[in-house]
Symmetry: C2
């Protein structure tokens, strides 16, 4: 928190009053024109528009927000921009919000600690936001002793379990099942798993579905190796898996870790997919160019972003809160990193 010392007067632009004086009408008429109301005579409207143009008038959002009690602004709280999923989600949210005439205020959380989440949430609430999208492992959000103001519309992404807020998310379970079953179907005896961090709901849901799919097929469930979503952690996990014997199929909880696994396999001279198959999750743009191109579970982040904003706007503008979870389906994208097990 640094101090702000306003050294010079913050030159304000022209106001409605200025435009009104220039056009020879009342401020209210300018307001009507600015808001596109129809009950203004064409000639008057043109005159006002001309004056706006001439003076370079721009409506003052602060004044409008103060008057209306609405800001047309949505707060987004996000832990990191390092993960592909978060980035794409943010992009989708931003675009969807912009289309609805809302802007986005992004609040970073540098470290995923309760304390920092509380701080960030606090800062978010002091912003002028009509609603909030939280894209953070909700384990942390749950633990954080923050009480969201009761009236504040909220949507949570990458989360579950709590039923008091609407949740929008990719159907993690379906995707993980897709990946696991595909590998089994190729003839692999079982499937190893490189899991995401413990704190992440998406990670645990993917892991759970992987386990479930194996159990249902009556296969052995090997112990999962845990990473932190990063390619580096995937590499480490890959090295560990290579040590164990009999690993023929690996399902990594995201593409970045899958990339690390691929590296480990290459380093140890294991050909992919001839020696081992690898499947990722996310379908990031680059996974097509991995070596070999990665078979992965495609997530539709655009849908997640769009639906989140829809739900949030329904809350904001309609007042209808709809607790519950909306799932976006996934699909398997088969490329060259998967094949039959070595004989």
């Amino acid at each position: 928190m640094s101090e702000a010392l306003p050294k010079r007067p913050p030159s304000r632009g022209p106001s409605m009053g200025d435009v009104a004086a220039h056009a020879g009408v009342s401020a209210q008429t300018v307001s009507r024109v600015a808001n596109g109301l129809t009950n203004v005579e064409a000639g008057t409207r043109d005159r006002v528009l001309a004056s706006m143009q001439a003076l370079g008038y721009r409506p003052n959002k602060a004044a409008r927000a103060l008057r209306l009690g609405r800001f047309r602004n949505i707060g987004v709280m996000m832990f990191t921009l390092s993960s592909f999923g978060n980035i794409r989600t943010l992009e989708a949210i931003t675009v969807a919000a912009a289309r609805a005439g809302y802007s986005i205020t992004l609040v970073p959380v540098e470290h995923p600690t309760q304390h920092e989440v509380s701080i960030a949430l606090d800062r978010l609430l002091e912003q002028s936001v009509d609603g909030v999208v939280i894209v953070i492992e909700s384990h942390i959000v749950d633990q954080a002793d923050v009480d969201l103001p009761p009236g504040l519309p909220v949507v949570v992404i990458d989360s579950a379990e709590r039923t008091d807020y609407p949740v929008v998310d990719t159907d993690q379970s379906q995707g993980a099942r897709l990946a696991t079953e595909y590998l089994l179907q190729l003839g692999h005896e079982t499937v190893w798993h490189v899991a995401g961090p413990e704190l992440s709901y998406s990670a645990s849901r993917r892991e759970q579905a992987w386990r479930q799919a194996l159990l249902e097929a009556g296969r052995r469930v090997p112990p999962p190796v845990r990473g932190d979503w990063s390619a580096a952690s995937g590499y480490l996990a890959g090295l560990e898996l290579v040590e164990s014997s009999g690993v023929t199929a690996v399902f990594a909880a995201n593409d970045q870790m899958a990339l690390g696994v691929l590296r480990a396999l290459h380093e140890r001279g294991i050909p992919v997919p001839a020696g081992a198959s690898v499947v990722g999750f996310d379908d990031m743009a680059e996974s097509d160019s991995f070596w070999p191109p990665l078979t992965t579970v495609h997530q539709d982040f655009d849908v997640v972003g769009r639906r989140s904003i829809e739900v949030l706007l329904a809350e904001i503008e309609g007042g209808e809160s709809s607790p519950g979870t909306i799932f976006a389906p996934t699909r398997l994208v088969v490329r060259s990193s998967t094949g039959a097990p070595p004989t």
Copy 2:
């Protein structure tokens, strides 16, 4: 632009007046406490703080902004979140701004056309922003017939040439030279280049420096192959390069395209680095896990983000505009994708 129909009154939170009444003081005293002024008796302050707590008071940012003419908000205009550089820059900007007590409003530009840039800029100006960071190929910004309001503080990233605004950027030329000279030093006769899109200043500066370095070393300058930053375009470029004979060293204008080049080389059975060397630009987190791990030019996006905000805040709070360019230095990260040319 959708219509907003406010169906229910936007429940407002408690105001200073409410807190004042609750604490038995005047609204002005509440204001003083809220702003941390010292001329309030300890007992009074405690009473006010208790009342704030009790009522769940949060200062209304719109009212404050209206009163002060300042918003503590910075607009960021960005074309895409698909490029690693943009993402890291955004992250750095967000963190730096948050540290200074500013929030970030993100405005997306879906397609890099003049028209959309104008629209976006317009929308940004209607937001309550104290300043703007533009992270867009400035070819487009230049062409767009938008006149930024004269008083508005602006910083441009990924740009150059125009001297009326401060520009903060990575030292593209230095980085490209680093990469090219390193490859020559390894014994390669010359260096092929996979360039970025024509519209990008960073791309053209990297290309220019690559050319310059070759010329200075008295080497032949092969025709550059142009991509669009994506791994897919890098793959295509790689296929094209593989056709030409005598390609032993490739400098790709970013890591994503380098990844595509690697894929093309693998596909054609050319070993890296034994058969050909590849260098990227960016040092994205994953490049360490490419196969083989990628030698690349490391950009310090944190510095770029931080310096941008510094310059912008100096403009906003100090009123000192400092046109000119600030360059952040790069460094070469040598990994396993480079080696001596095949004999």
